[in-house]
């Protein structure tokens, strides 16, 4: 039917891609394969290389594994710098993330083999424990990164297409203005109820509220239910202003719920880093202690 004009590119310093490829499948799982191979090789070495029975850590293989592990930890930490240092060059943060994820998982093997499965109540096992905590929090991070973006995206869609966080806030403000106008004829008791909903900050609430998405003392919901109770005791009239306000409050509740779902998902996408990063620093401290102490005692 037709012929597309031939591709013309200068072949500048930029790498071109034509589809989206996530960090987990980067280059068809290049780092997954590398890490898996390394893990298998290291385990094989551990099993088949004959070494003196005691203090595996001080054997040549132990030292090698330890050095690899320590350097790997430092390199993995450097992701935080790489992410922020936007220097020129043909690097891709996605490739770094991919390597970070799989080499980080490899660290389970490296670190644990290095321990020679000798655990106790000492600084060495503390370093191992912290390392595992970082890795586990990282695994949780992978799960969050792999699943929540889709939910975050789904939550943004309605029948008219996707809306942004800013638009959600705008929509809430617009409903608030309408509630304000519609509530003018209400008596003072009802107006006070409505006012509490209007004064409520959509971003209010504790970190816990955010993470759970539960807001037990929500002013909008209590205003709506309060109004309904009031109306139940009154004779029915046509064009009841309470009814109009109630309808608007219901709309606000729905929008507020969507906004809170949005905030909840966003919080989860970040919350795990509050464990992952500080514990990393604790790990580096413990690791230093471990390195210094082994040179003293062994």
């Amino acid at each position: 039917m037709a012929t597309i004009a031939s591709k013309r590119r200068t072949g500048a310093s930029r790498q071109r891609t034509s589809t989206h490829e996530g960090f987990l499948t980067h280059r068809k799982g290049r780092w997954l394969k590398i890490s898996a191979l390394l893990a298998v090789a290291l385990i094989a070495l551990y099993i088949f290389v004959p070494l003196p029975g005691q203090h595996f850590g001080s054997t040549w293989l132990g030292y090698t594994l330890g050095t690899i592990g320590a350097l790997l930890i430092l390199w993995l930490t450097m992701l935080g710098v790489r992410k922020r240092a936007i220097t020129p060059g043909r690097w891709s943060l996605k490739a770094w993330t991919s390597a970070h994820v799989y080499l980080g998982l490899l660290l389970i093997v490296v670190g644990t083999l290095h321990s020679g499965f000798e655990f106790g109540w000492n600084v060495h096992t503390l370093a191992w424990g912290l390392m595992m905590l970082v890795i586990v929090s990282g695994m949780f991070g992978i799960w969050v990164y792999a699943t929540l973006p889709r939910a975050l995206s789904d939550n943004r869609y309605d029948e008219d297409g996707a809306i942004t966080e800013k638009q959600m806030v705008e929509a809430l403000r617009s409903i608030d203005r309408q509630i304000h106008d519609a509530a003018q004829p209400l008596d003072s008791e009802a107006a006070a109820l409505v006012n509490r909903s209007l004064e409520e900050d959509p971003f209010a609430g504790s970190f816990w509220n955010r993470l759970t998405g539960r807001y037990p003392r929500d002013a909008t919901r209590s205003a709506a239910s309060g109004l309904r109770q009031m109306r139940a005791n009154k004779p029915r009239v046509a064009d009841d202003p309470i009814e109009k306000v109630d309808a608007l409050l219901t709309r606000k509740e729905a929008m507020l719920a969507r906004m809170r779902r949005h905030l909840k998902l966003k919080s989860w996408l970040q919350a795990w880093l509050y464990v992952h990063v500080p514990v990393t620093f604790a790990l580096i401290a413990a690791l230093s202690a471990h390195v210094v102490s082994v040179f003293f005692y062994w």
């Binding site: 039917m1 012929t3 200068t10 790498q15 589809t19 996530g22 043909r90 996707a162």
Partner: protein, 858 residues
């Protein structure tokens, strides 16, 4: 009525005022007519405190008035004072209604004015020109007599008027000074642009005013305000819709005025006519360019093109003897140009014919590097004489043309441009000849282009990269014509337009179908080819039709759709430079798919029979076409086979493609796309962008539309024909070596590009101060950290010097947009800095392919 002035100047903008000042300084008997109550109405209405720029800086100002960059108010004050000092005879509130000669009829000087109605029909009126002196009739009924008239009225024009019965009644108005002064009225606002919306909202803002405001909108109601209010800014339209929702005012969709009578208005609605109360009508339906008025004065325009300017002599005299046209109306929108012309035109009128134009030094510099010592005029003559497309130009047009163009000398063997280099300029050969390299690896395979001809037209027309390398075949002189100059040339000189079209059609065919063809082979095809404009969404080929024509996409892009199971399914995307429609020609039978324009496009329609004959004569070409066709056919078959098993996926793929086209991908060359299934919302793309470019982010990740997990953020698409470039006074927007559209340092911050960009990707902002280094932040917490610094921090850390000039520069807002990280090794930072691979930058032809369907799991 008794006095006949030597010269009457109409319009007191920079051009008119400068002319009047010269006339006053020369003690010439003159009058300056200004329709408003003050000088320079256009500049007067600029927003308060606007910084007015004095570009181009290399142009020398020659005027009795001073002009330097500065605040609008200061400039106007200076002009007003100087005008009074010089004793300029200004007549304020003098709006001109008509200008006619009172002398004898000029024999053989008849102007034909063609007016086109909305329905496409046209009527021609003939105006007999009369000799001066001219009678200038004012709207007040007064008449001013003058031997010479200088028209310096700019291009703003007058408001469009309503045309229904009763529209001449006094309560039909076209402006609103103070909306709060109107009480207890039924008001109809016609027009849903920003002006109409602002008026309507002002009138209804305070319900205590008691106004009943109705806004008439011709468009149907839609949840997308961009559709229902296409000419308004989005926030304005949204606010209006909101006011309508809460009952402050009423919007009537799909409604027009039918008739007006005192106290009432009859509306034509979708459901029939309706008569409602109406005490006042405010019509804000745009303004008409002053062309009608100008033509009525006997002044001829260079062509029927909307962009055309009046035909002028080197001394600015129009086709009506004694009427001179200067300033923006003559095609010179910059203040300095205007002021110089004001000076010049009075000198010419007073008989100083030796005056060298103020642009003489600029042109001298342009020709300085060429061999052979010639004067500017000799060079201009040489170019006009040798280059076929410049033949129809006047001396004045040549000067203006050369200001935007460059004449260059190339030694034998020197490369003029390389294949795949970006560039939208046109080249013309003034002397010597050039070779087109057909084979990049074999420099002996060349096609000559002779003296007088042009090359580079593909870049000019399609906005795509250069198709071939051009090398000087002997020592030669070429003129590089910038895109703007080339467009102006085509609108001014119709013969040039036709010549360029013909050459470009022929070359495009030859280039597309390979080297086996010569221009003789395709002569018949070129002769029968027609260039057609296609509106967005309009089909050029309809599935099931029996026609046999072949189409070459010259500008814009097309999408191919096939009806499968009652639904149009997207098959492929065709960028400019592709051809389509050969399948039916080669195989016979009906059209197998529909091809429609993704955006406003231009195609070359090639007669099927003529093309068939070329194919028959050239079996190699037929073979190639068959091969090309085979790929297409496989795509069709693939999609049709997938449709049964994975109809959901095919639907999604198809819908997504349509969504992307609706987002302007049809004119994009490189667009940022975010896969929402991968995006964690870290905004590292924005931070990276800010950190790569002076601390200002040029993209807004969250803003922009999404469809089926695909998000098109607010970021530049680097359009084929960038809208932002259309109206840049200092010509600061260019296309760079990697195809990026960027704004250089000469930006004056006027905001035209921001307004012209349909995708809202340009922001006006000042550059924040430099941040402490990343390490400094990481280790000591100094500075605001990665990304765009907060406004407060920037404000606090801007180091003002106390020197008003330096401080002004620190505070000056400039246009900021994506430059695709040109010159930064590794390419776009936003993509490199995405931790999950959600952000990619692609060209639409790379992305909109069937491969995508396979990746989606079909």
């Amino acid at each position: 009525m008794s006095e006949v002035y030597k010269v009457a100047i109409i319009g007191s903008g920079p051009a008119g005022m400068s002319a009047a000042s010269r006339a006053a300084a020369r003690k010439l008997d003159h009058v300056l007519l200004e329709k408003s109550g003050h000088l320079s109405d256009t500049i007067f209405k600029y927003q308060k405190g606007k910084h007015v720029m004095a570009t181009p800086s290399q142009l020398i100002l020659r005027s009795d008035q001073d002009f330097d960059a500065g605040k609008k108010e200061d400039i106007l004050d200076k002009w007003t004072a100087r005008t009074a000092d010089l004793g300029v005879n200004v007549k304020y509130n003098a709006e001109v209604k008509s200008i006619r000669g009172t002398g004898p009829a000029i024999e053989g000087s008849v102007q034909k004015i063609v007016t086109r109605a909305r329905d496409g029909s046209s009527t021609t009126t003939e105006v007999q020109r009369f000799a001066p002196p001219y009678a200038i009739e004012l709207t007040s009924g007064e008449t001013v007599m003058a031997e010479n008239v200088v028209l310096a009225i700019g291009t703003q024009g007058n408001p469009n008027l309503m045309r229904c019965p009763g529209s001449d009644l006094p309560h039909v108005t076209y402006q609103l000074d103070d909306p709060y002064a109107i009480l207890d009225e039924h008001i109809i606002v016609v027009g849903t642009g920003d002006a109409g919306i602002e008026n309507a909202r002002g009138l209804a803002e305070d319900s205590a005013q008691g106004n009943v405001v109705t806004v008439l909108n011709r468009a149907p109601k839609s949840t997308n305000v961009r559709e229902s209010f296409p000419t308004a800014k989005e926030p304005n339209a949204k606010a209006l819709v909101e006011d309508d929702a809460i009952g402050k005012l009423a919007i009537r969709y799909e409604t027009e005025t039918k008739a007006v009578e005192p106290g009432w208005i009859t509306l034509a609605t979708r459901d029939g006519e309706e008569r409602i109360r109406c005490d006042r009508i405010i019509a804000r339906i745009g303004s008409a360019p002053p062309r009608g008025f100008v033509e009525g004065c006997g002044i001829e325009f260079a062509s029927a093109d909307r962009l055309a300017f009046p035909t002028l002599s080197p001394s600015f005299e129009s086709t009506a003897p004694g009427i001179f046209v200067i300033g923006a109306l003559a095609g010179y929108p910059l203040i300095k140009h205007c002021m110089n012309q004001g000076y010049d035109v009075i000198e010419f009128i007073s008989g100083n014919t030796d005056l060298k134009p103020a642009d003489e030094p600029l042109l001298e510099a342009k020709f300085a590097d060429l061999p052979g010592r010639k004067s500017v005029n000799e060079w201009l003559e040489l170019l006009r004489g040798n280059i076929a497309i410049l033949d129809g130009m006047t001396a004045l047009q040549m000067r203006e043309f050369m200001l935007d163009s460059d004449a260059r000398f190339y030694k034998k063997g020197e490369t003029i441009f390389e294949k795949n280099a970006p560039g939208s300029s046109l080249f013309a050969i003034a002397d010597g000849s050039v070779h087109v390299r057909i084979d990049p690896n074999d420099s002996s395979k060349v096609v000559p282009i002779p003296k007088g001809s042009i090359f580079g037209e593909v870049g000019l027309i399609s906005g795509r990269r250069r198709g071939a390398t051009i090398v000087a075949a002997e020592d030669c002189i070429c003129v590089e014509i910038s895109r703007n100059a080339a467009l102006k040339l085509q609108s001014q000189v119709p013969t040039a337009k036709r010549a360029i079209e013909r050459i470009s059609t022929e070359r495009q065919l030859l280039q597309m179908f390979g080297s086996g063809l010569s221009s003789d082979d395709v002569r018949e095809v070129v002769d029968t080819a027609k260039i057609m404009q296609v509106r967005a969404g309009e089909p050029v080929i309809t599935e099931g039709a029996d026609d046999k024509d072949v189409f070459v996409i010259r500008v814009g892009s097309m999408i191919v759709e096939k009806d499968i199971g009652g639904k149009p399914v997207f098959l492929s995307y065709l960028p400019a430079g592709s051809y389509v429609g050969e399948m039916a020609l080669i195989d016979g039978g009906q059209r197998t798919a529909t091809v429609r324009a993704a955006i406003k496009s231009e195609v070359i329609r090639i007669d099927g029979e003529a093309f068939r004959r070329v194919l028959d004569a050239k079996p190699a070409l037929l073979e190639r076409a068959r091969n090309d066709m085979e790929g297409r056919r496989r795509t069709n078959a693939f999609i049709e086979s997938k449709k049964d098993g994975f109809s959901g996926v095919v639907d999604l793929y198809s819908e997504q493609a349509k969504f992307l086209v609706a987002q302007g991908l049809g004119e994009a060359t490189d667009v940022l796309l975010i896969d929402e299934r991968l995006c964690v919302g870290c905004d590292n793309c924005e931070k990276a962008c800010a950190d790569s470019h002076d601390g200002l982010s040029r993209l807004d990740r969250e803003a922009g539309k999404s469809f089926a997990h695909l998000h098109v953020p607010t970021s530049c698409r680097h359009c084929e024909h960038p809208h932002c470039m259309a109206d840049c006074p200092p010509n600061a927007i260019h296309r760079g070596p990697d195809g990026e559209v960027f704004i250089n340092d000469t930006c004056i911050g006027c905001g035209n590009c921001q307004r012209n960009c349909p995708y809202g990707v340009i922001r006006m902002d000042k550059v924040p101060p430099k941040k402490p280094s990343l390490l400094n932040w990481l280790l000591f917490g100094n500075g605001p950290g990665p990304g765009e610094p907060p406004y407060k921090w920037s404000k606090k850390n801007t180091k003002y010097t106390g020197d008003p000039q330096v401080d002004e520069a620190l505070d000056r807002k400039k246009a900021i947009k994506c430059d695709m990280c040109a010159g930064i090794e590794g390419g776009p930072s936003c993509v490199r800095a995405c931790p999950t691979g959600a952000a990619i930058r692609v060209s639409p032809d790379e992305f909109l392919t069937v491969a995508r369907l396979e990746n989606e799991g079909a």
